[in-house]
């Protein structure tokens, strides 16, 4: 059956005049690496497999969880606990046994990225964190590979095609031309914290597959030097024009050995642990300039504090009220020193290295006690 007409499976796209057998042959010869077999990766993989991309690599070190299923539509309840890369490969091979699908059940790191990218022509970023996104971007710039980018948050998505010059130009825009430096942990919420409408990655991931197919076959206008944003609630689509920045090149490792030495996880994290301080240190600090003291207890809690200036932000409201914290040094206190530790953790997550965060050990109880004994 398929011996007679190798394009039977692809008939409905081959009969498109713009596409033809020529377009199909280009797809069958293409090698595409999909990083992340999650919300964006699942629909992208499904359509790329169905369309007949000849070689598809899948990188993911995660396993399927129940709370993935509302958006990661390749998987079923039977897959819970199993490797996403392996399961996706198995399911996709049933969809299209005529192409090559290679699962990589491992985490993408600086140590394996360049070697892996070398095997493929186009890289698709469906990951869920900034450290991997910046690493993928930099590796694509270093290796001169086009990068199909998609990212989502709550009800909105972004799509672009990076590192692909316009025809006749050799200037290509990359992710760092848009956002030069990674945000620190907590500056931007991820899906686990912010939530995401299940159908949104379906739409954005499908757009990523579409951009990939357009790029390979040369039809239409892929999102070169453009960023498309989509809002699932309003159906608003906004396309922004991007241009290269001269300083971007200096942010990207210059060669393989610099890339291998770059710690992308560190670039995006806030390694400073919050510091617990005793009453004496506390009293010393509150005398200084540039210190904000925050009572994270509920407003009705006693004893009340009139002895020193402080802000009152109950722990539950802290995340939404960090704008009122202006000083570079922040000391949280509560009744016994437990909630203030949590508060310090939250503040560290939000401010990262930009502020020094302290928690008063023993809380206001201990502080009052020591003032009486003096």
């Amino acid at each position: 059956m398929s011996d007679k007409n190798p394009y039977e499976r692809y008939n409905r796209q081959v009969i498109l005049p713009e596409f033809g057998t020529d377009g199909q042959q280009k797809l069958l010869r293409a090698k595409v690496l999909v990083i992340g077999a999650g919300g964006l990766g699942c629909p992208a993989l499904q359509y790329l497999t169905a369309a007949g991309i000849g070689t598809i690599g899948i990188v993911d070190d995660d396993v399927v969880a129940l709370n993935n299923l509302h958006r990661q539509v390749l998987y079923s309840v039977n897959d819970i606990g199993l490797s996403k890369a392996e399961r996706a490969a198995g399911i996709l091979r049933q969809l299209n046994p005529d192409i090559r699908i290679i699962p990589y059940n491992e985490r993408l790191t600086t140590q394996n990225a360049l070697q892996l990218f070398d095997e493929f022509e186009i890289i698709i970023d469906g990951t869920d964190n900034f450290s991997t996104r910046y690493m993928i971007n930099d590796a694509c710039v270093l290796m001169n590979k086009p990068l199909v980018y998609g990212a989502i948050s709550q009800f909105e998505g972004q799509v672009s095609l990076f590192n692909q010059p316009l025809t006749g130009s050799n200037e290509a825009v990359n992710y760092r031309d848009l956002f030069p430096d990674p945000p620190k942990e907590g500056e931007v919420l991820n899906c686990a914290e912010a939530g995401v409408l299940g159908v949104l990655p379906g739409i954005i991931g499908t757009m990523m597959a579409n951009e990939t197919i357009k790029l390979i076959t040369g039809i239409g206008e892929p999102l070169v030097n453009q960023l498309l944003t989509y809002n699932a609630l309003s159906n608003q689509v906004f396309v922004l024009n991007l241009s290269a920045r001269s300083e971007t090149r200096s942010l990207i490792p210059k060669n393989e050995s610099e890339f291998l030495k770059t710690d992308y996880v560190w670039l995006c994290s806030s390694p400073v642990a919050s510091e617990e301080i005793d009453v004496d240190t506390f009293n010393g600090l509150i005398e200084k300039e540039n210190v904000d003291v925050i009572d994270v207890r509920e407003l009705h809690e006693i004893p009340s504090v009139n002895e020193f200036k402080h802000l009152r932000i109950p722990l539950a409201q802290l995340g939404d009220n960090t704008w009122s914290i202006k000083a570079e040094n922040v000391i949280a206190f509560c009744q016994s020193g437990k909630r203030s530790l949590q508060a310090a953790k939250i503040l560290n997550g939000i401010f990262g290295n930009s502020k020094k965060i302290y928690s008063l050990r023993g809380g206001i109880i201990e502080w009052k006690k020591q003032q009486q004994t003096v």
Binding site: G36, G38, G39, L40, G41, D125, G126, T127, D128, N129, F130, R133, G150, A151, I152, S153, Q154, E156, G157, Q158, D177, L178, F179, P183, E187, V188, L189, N190, C191, A194, V196, P201, L227, T229, F238, V239, L240, N241, L242, S243, R245, D320, T322, W323, S324, I350, F351, S354
Partner: protein
């Protein structure tokens, strides 16, 4: 003083959560003064990361604005 009531400001992602979607700012003539006005009006924006586009072009430096300008504030998304 020139009034720029009709300057259009579009907030994306978390920025819309902080400032809402009907943001208006009066009497700004460039993006730097727009940012400082927005920070006064919506202090939560000052510690949030975003890029600015004027008339659908991502800008790299202070850019003049007029009544017809469409300004978009766009945060990075990490989700996948």
């Amino acid at each position: 003083m020139l009034s720029l009531m009709s300057l259009k400001i579009i907030m994306f992602g978390r920025l819309a959560d902080i400032a809402g979607n009907a943001v208006s700012v009066n009497d700004v003539t460039d993006t730097d003064s727009l940012v400082s006005e927005l920070n006064k009006k919506y202090p939560g924006l000052s510690n949030t990361k975003y890029v600015i586009a004027v008339n659908k072009e991502i800008i790299k430096e202070n850019t003049p604005l007029n009544k017809k300008s469409i300004v978009a504030l766009l945060p990075p998304f990490s989700g996948g």
